[in-house]
Subunit: 576 residues, 2 copies
């Protein structure tokens, strides 16, 4: 278990501070992560990796010459915010644009996607290469839905070496995607890991059993089997990965036998003895393999085999030198051109453009801000209870994420309200701040929902009941587009859809806005309670679906709570 921490809430910040203190030759901190201590040569494409932390040496351990230009560092097992990714990308850019590469997880896709949009708006070319190597996470026909695991390491390395060699932006993207196309992983887990400050592991595998294909955050795998011998495991991994050999590939591969944290080097070498024999027997030639810890999950017990089918280009890039805190190869320090010693300022963040609204808009904005305050207060009071609900099937961070996100939203909203803006600007600022500070999937969803809702509130007249209903429908659309949750998946959508439907119906029946909202919020509360009967949508944060039956969904519960608080403010202010 994870035992060493000061304040669990600042674990990631403390970890980054210690990491930077240990490796000042390689990295310097910027908001949201780290970049090389010395910027790459002018015009070089910057390769920026990232994702949630807890996977060291992935991702910040591989920043340095020959490897990544920067790493975006989210909280443990939590995607970084779009602001984090934007900030690191901006700081890493040397004028050649930014290629982000990360594993395929919903939260990362959202936040890196938003970061690419922001970088492009700031005039920096940017693109995401999403790694999808985990053969256990989706069938081969749906490779794009597969999770990214240790293949991240190969794709980052190849893309980084290409950028170091002087490939242009499109060529870096091409070879990174090519590396991903040629890379397959299969993993097993023997036991879970413990998040800092928690007493219980995120999940458990029963004694004497092995989870085949279990994800690195405990995502459901393919099957649970009896614990095999080392040789049997080697055969399972080799057979599983070779069965997915890409078409037309030569039988020349590189391989990573990766330990997740508590499955140690000696055991990995015992397994590797058989893996290397089986690969040789299958006619596969292995080039510069790695046996060790490259992508961990705190102290999770388990391991995985990754193969990348090489061609001469991939082999050259895989073998190229690198010099980073956790991974060194060959004579990297002499390879890159002399680096600039320019000290780069912390990444500037986009200044919002302030549009002063008419008095009606400012009045609506003030109501919105009061509602946000009420929501933030209620979420803070409910933090422990929401955390408890979330811990049953997830990682227990929902309460903390909602508290951090709503507090940041209030602060940002207060600041722009004082500048005289209307409700849309308030909600855009609040939504961005929420997503930036909360991180994780729910942070992204709440950020998008507030933005979309705000877009439909008028600046130049009081908001009507119809405006509220249209805004709610837009927020629902944004949430569904980003989160892809469907009815019955046991997410906040299961409370949001009944709310939006009830609001629309009440408004169509002629209710005033405050009354319609009140009725719809009550409907959302009932719907949130009914989620106790559902089995949750499985996925990253919810490896233990069945455990939550009988418990309402934390996301639906916090949404219903927020909607009720807003109803109280609307009623108290006599909103029509």
């Amino acid at each position: 278990m994870t035992r060493l921490y000061d304040d669990p809430a600042s674990f990631t910040e403390d970890m980054v501070a210690g990491f930077v203190a240990a490796h000042p030759r390689y990295v310097r901190p910027v908001p949201g992560g780290v970049v090389r201590s010395r910027r790459g040569r002018q015009g070089k494409v910057a390769v920026v990796t990232g994702g949630g932390s807890g996977h060291y040496p992935a991702f910040c351990g591989v920043v340095g010459p020959g490897f990544a230009d920067g790493a975006v560092i989210g909280n443990i097992f939590t995607s970084p915010s779009s602001e984090d990714a934007y900030s690191v990308g901006r700081a890493a850019d040397s004028g050649g644009g930014v290629v982000f590469s990360f594993g395929n997880y919903a939260g990362d896709n959202m936040h890196f996607g938003l970061a690419v949009e922001r970088l492009e708006r700031a005039g920096i070319r940017a693109h995401n290469v999403v790694v999808t190597d985990d053969v256990a996470s989706a069938p081969v026909e749906e490779r794009s839905k597969r999770r990214g695991v240790v293949g991240d390491f190969v794709v980052f390395k190849v893309a980084s070496a290409a950028a170091e060699e002087g490939y242009d932006f499109d060529e870096v993207v091409r070879v990174a995607e090519h590396a991903n196309d040629r890379t397959r992983s299969l993993g097993v887990a023997f036991d879970g890991c413990t998040l800092p400050g928690q007493d219980e592991a995120l999940f458990h595998v029963p004694d004497g059993k092995m989870g085949l294909g279990l994800g690195i955050h405990g995502e459901p795998g393919v099957s649970e089997r009896d614990m095999p011998s080392a040789s049997e495991l080697a055969k399972i991994l080799v057979d599983g990965v070779l069965a997915e050999a890409p078409e037309g590939a030569t039988p020349r591969v590189t391989a990573i036998l990766n330990g997740l944290g508590a499955t140690k080097y000696e055991e990995l070498f015992v397994v590797w003895g058989t893996v290397s024999r089986l690969l040789a027997e299958a006619g596969v030639e292995v080039v510069e393999p790695e046996v060790g810890e490259l992508v961990t999950s705190l102290d999770m017990a388990g391991c995985s085999l990754t193969l990348t089918w090489l061609d001469p280009e991939l082999e050259r890039l895989w073998s190229a030198p690198a010099d980073t805190p956790a991974y060194r190869k060959g004579n990297a320090v002499t390879v890159s051109e002399p680096e600039s010693t320019e000290v780069v300022e912390s990444a500037p963040i986009d200044e919002p453009i302030v549009v002063v609204a008419p008095a009606e808009g400012q009045a609506t904005a003030a109501t919105v801000v009061r509602a946000l305050h009420s929501v933030a207060d209620a979420l803070r009071d409910a933090e422990d209870e929401l955390g408890r609900l979330d811990a049953i099937a997830g990682d227990g961070d929902h309460g903390r994420g909602m508290t951090k996100g709503s507090a940041a939203a209030v602060e940002a909203a207060d600041a722009v309200l004082a500048q005289g803006v209307g409700p849309a600007a308030v909600l855009v600022a609040a939504g961005d701040a929420w997503a930036a500070k909360a991180g994780g999937t729910s942070g992204a969803l709440w950020g998008a929902a507030l933005r979309s809702f705000g877009d439909l509130l008028p600046d130049d007249r009081p908001a009507t009941a119809e405006d509220l209903a249209a805004g709610a429908a837009a927020a629902l659309g944004a949430v569904q587009r980003l989160g892809r949750a469907e009815v019955g998946d046991k997410t906040l959508v299961d409370a949001l859809i009944p709310f939006v439907d009830a609001l629309k119906d009440a408004v169509a029946d002629g209710s005033r806005g405050r009354d319609a909202w009140q009725q719809a919020a009550q409907e959302a509360t009932r719907a949130a309670e009914r989620t106790a009967e559902l089995t949750p949508r499985t996925g990253r944060a919810r490896p233990l679906a069945e455990r939550s039956v009988g418990t309402p969904d934390p996301g639906a519960t916090s949404l219903a709570l927020a909607l009720s608080e807003i109803a109280g403010v609307l009623t108290g202010e006599g909103v029509h």
Copy 2:
């Protein structure tokens, strides 16, 4: 826990095979360990590290240019045999002699000591540098009794870099001992690790507690404390090590914050943040620190801080490049002179010189061999029971070690008996084989006991009762000299002393040899049973002293069993 293995009995061999398969560019196997795949330049001093395995990347992970020339690889947490060390030393030698460096443990001292003697007899200069950095394992006045832990890594690195630079033999020894003099470590453990094939950890630390100074094999520490925060731990470690700063040292150090296996990188960085701040506040400047896993103990939970006070020579050698499977620094591959590509044969083992004995001596030798067969059979039958006894306070390998050792002794004895030798030559061959194959402390003790006993058996006349008594006394002397156990320490000495005393008394009273041996063996059996009342001598293999009260000592038990078997053979053969 350690989960991945095929046959636990061949875990180390399987591990070495996989390690070599993963890193053929760096290492090749020789009997007893590995050496660089390409020999160092002619005349270079060879630095050979080693010890029990289970500590990767220590020790075999650091073989390569700029670092070690070879590593002797014992079984998990068990010292390699003298034959292992001799074989690796011989293979690593490039004509400049061999400097062994290892942590200070009784078994390692014995076996590496014997290996040095054998290498010197073979005309190869050799010396042992014993690392003693663990401040918790003995008071400062007895530094030479301290255990070696992560300081191993610093001493090996410095000695290796010196050898690579061209230092001569005496200078390599000098700077290695100097590095040890300047190095201090303090460690903590949060939980034990599990040996391959075992269901239970070697030891446990109670939940919420921390063992301060607990050794890397579970040796007793200084105290058990409540689990501290990361910052509190950092202060404990920094204060503990700084209190031991060597006299006259400059405030410039290198540092290793080492994880034992299950205490992961993220946690280490959190601790390092405070360690680096506290060191700075104490006016200590840190040069090229390492934060990660350098000396592990399988999946033990815990960490340690090591400081080496630098002078310009030590700093240069610590910073020098290295290129090994698990540790790379700078541009090592260009630093060493072009290496010979000579393929080195597996190390030849000394051929024993055969001296044919007179008929009387051959007859005694035949009796000795029959007694050895009887002992080996009995030990094999008792293997499980001896293992069970040993598991109560130790690592449960006593039965296996005795079975392997005695089987090897029988095989060697049979071979030399067929050549017509006398009892001394039989027992020397048997003793060497026992020590070589059994490994561990008991292997070394039995090997020495057989050799010493044999030295006093005549070749040219039948052995008398007085010969047996003198031989037994010599064996006891060898065991006490090597093992340093005293009466009441709950070791085989507690059965051997009563045996030797009873044998001497019976012989003095005029008993025939077979009768005296029979009486003395019975006394040994009673004495072995009485060891149940003792608390064992604590140490490497026996972290859980108090647990064994009520259980007889496995070493005393197996000794008494062997002595009884010999009594049976002597009686059956009518020995006078």
